[in-house]
């Protein structure tokens, strides 16, 4: 098992997994307590339009993707704040349009044949050093911003009305949160793929939230779980010679169902214990 650490690409991949895990743990917890998984999915998929724009107009990849997804995030934030009841439809439209725009722009780019699969499932094994620096930056930024606004984010997610009453700038924080999600998603697309980003954003915090006493501990446990899923998936994909991104998702998915099953089992056991108590 240890021999895989000899390869630099493997060490990079493990380090990337750790960074992605921290970012996903922090942002993912905020995503599920605010119930904005759909918006996050929308941002991640619409980001594909940014890839198309970058390639077609010959812009730097990051400029295109970051710019476009933050734009989408702000539009979605404004729509959700203004017209809550229609928000999901509009987000769905942006989701699909962004993706379609990306595909068409890539079609129109002469002599460019991009591999769609690598954006969907990523390739954590081919992360260059330069991108490692960028992911580190995003991780530090995310943790810093969330620490500074922690109580405000918590109050906003728990009781928006009350936090408005307390003078919390809810609209600003909501836009900030969606921008953080956009940043988190786009930096991770090349590495773990946009489908995996959503899986990592939702599964670990979902499991962590059930056992954690606070939002902070949810974030910490979610970060630990994301990292473990990524590492376990990497190791499995290496030993079984499978696609790394998909293997990581499957590990997470399996844990998701195991956690559901153990919860059911625990409830059943507790009920039985109570019954036998009563009988005694």
């Amino acid at each position: 098992m240890l021999e895989i650490l000899q390869f630099e690409f493997m060490r990079n991949a493990l380090f990337t997994g750790l960074l992605a895990g921290i970012t996903c743990g922090v942002i993912g917890s905020l995503v599920i307590v605010n119930r904005i998984v759909f918006i996050s999915g929308g941002i991640a998929h619409a980001a594909y339009g940014g890839i198309g724009i970058a390639v077609f107009f010959g812009l730097p990849y990051l400029l295109g993707v970051v710019g476009f997804s933050i734009l989408c995030a702000i539009v979605m934030a404004l729509v959700t704040l203004k017209e809550k009841h229609r928000a999901d439809t509009i987000i769905g439209v942006i989701w699909a349009l962004g993706m379609a725009l990306g595909v068409i722009l890539l079609d129109l780019t002469p002599g460019y044949n991009v591999d769609l699969m690598s954006y969907l499932f990523g390739s954590i094994l081919t992360v260059p050093k330069s991108e490692l620096w960028m992911i580190s930056g995003v991780t530090v930024l995310t943790v810093a911003v969330v620490s500074v606004f922690y109580l405000d984010f918590q109050a906003m997610a728990y009781d928006e009305e009350f936090s408005r009453l307390k003078g919390v700038p809810v609209n600003f924080l909501y836009c900030l949160l969606l921008c953080l999600i956009a940043l988190c998603v786009v930096t991770l697309i090349r590495i773990v793929g946009l489908i995996l980003v959503i899986a990592l954003l939702t599964i670990p915090p979902y499991i962590a939230e059930k056992y954690a006493g606070s939002l902070k501990t949810t974030m910490i446990w979610a970060a630990v779980l994301s990292t473990l899923f990524t590492w376990a998936g990497l190791w499995l994909s290496y030993t079984l010679n499978l696609t790394s991104g998909a293997t990581i998702i499957l590990v997470g998915g399996c844990c998701f169902f195991i956690s559901l099953f153990t919860d059911k089992l625990l409830v059943r056991l507790r009920e039985n214990a109570q019954k036998s108590d009563k009988a005694a």
Binding site: S147, L151, A157, Y158, D159, L165, K166, G167, S214, L215
Partner: protein, 263 residues
């Protein structure tokens, strides 16, 4: 809502003159074109204890939210301690009606109450003073033993008390409560009103409620809200209120029939 400066000064002056905690003047409000409140004018004296009664959909919650600064009126002005409600937010405590939202949120009872001390952009900040005030509010509402539990583990009545403790933690001068007894059994209801009455020594209290029978022993005045508002300085309910303001009959009769007389 734009408050003209002269209006603002005027209400500050009025506040100093007559010491009314809340002044509502010609306020109208509508949701998407449907009028909910029309031309409401009334005032609440400092240290007042007023109950808003009226049918569901009559505008009680809307009126509370307007006074708490969560909504802005279409017409008219509201001042709380002489300033617009949004500027007086540090002096306002608000207890929402809906206490079942976000039951699964990973947060402890203590942290919910700490929210009452929230100052924007303060990170993890909680001072010694905050912690003390949180403990004090929890004890005041009798929910201190649960402070480390997750909010979802509590019963409806206990959660209601936690939300009142959260409002108290902000050290308000006026407390707005929206049907605070909706999920509380009748014994705890009485305890709750008793606690509110004690609080009333230092805090103005406005509450929307249905159980007038019990309330009448505690409140100082009653206002009936059904799109328009009628104020009563004593808690004597006149039978014509039922006709004029379409308050549900059982609310009115509940008062005239003393507890015990009904059966």
């Amino acid at each position: 809502m734009k408050y003209r400066p002269d209006e603002c000064l005027c209400s500050k002056f009025l506040y100093k003159m007559n010491g009314n905690a809340v002044e509502v003047k010609n306020v109208s409000f509508s949701y998407t074109g449907r009028p909910v409140l029309e031309d409401i004018t009334f005032s609440i004296p400092e240290k007042g204890f007023i109950a808003l009664i009226g049918p569901n959909g009559g505008g009680k919650t809307t009126l509370l939210k307007l006074m708490a600064g969560l909504l802005t009126p279409d017409q008219g002005t509201i001042s709380v301690f002489g300033s617009p409600p949004k500027k007086a937010f540090r002096r306002i405590g608000y207890v929402p009606q809906e206490i079942h939202t976000n039951k699964d949120f990973p947060i402890t009872v203590g942290d919910v109450v700490l929210m009452g001390r929230l100052k924007p952009f303060n990170g993890y900040g909680r001072s010694r003073k905050d912690v003390d005030i949180v403990r004090e509010s929890l004890e005041q509402m009798g929910v201190a033993p649960f402070h480390k539990k997750r909010i979802g583990e509590l019963s409806g009545g206990q959660r209601q008390k936690v939300f009142i403790a959260r409002a108290l933690a902000g050290k308000p001068d006026i407390l707005f409560l929206d049907e605070p007894t909706s999920s509380v059994d009748s014994q705890s209801r009485r305890d709750l009103y008793r606690t509110l009455k004690e609080l009333n020594n230092s805090v103005t209290i406005v509450l929307a409620s249905h159980d007038l029978m019990m309330l009448s022993n505690f409140v100082k005045s009653v206002a009936c809200v059904n799109r328009t508002l009628h104020c009563h300085d004593n808690t004597c309910i006149e039978s014509d209120m039922a006709d004029t303001y379409q308050c549900p009959m059982e609310l009115i009769s509940a008062k005239t029939l003393r507890p015990g007389a009904a059966d």
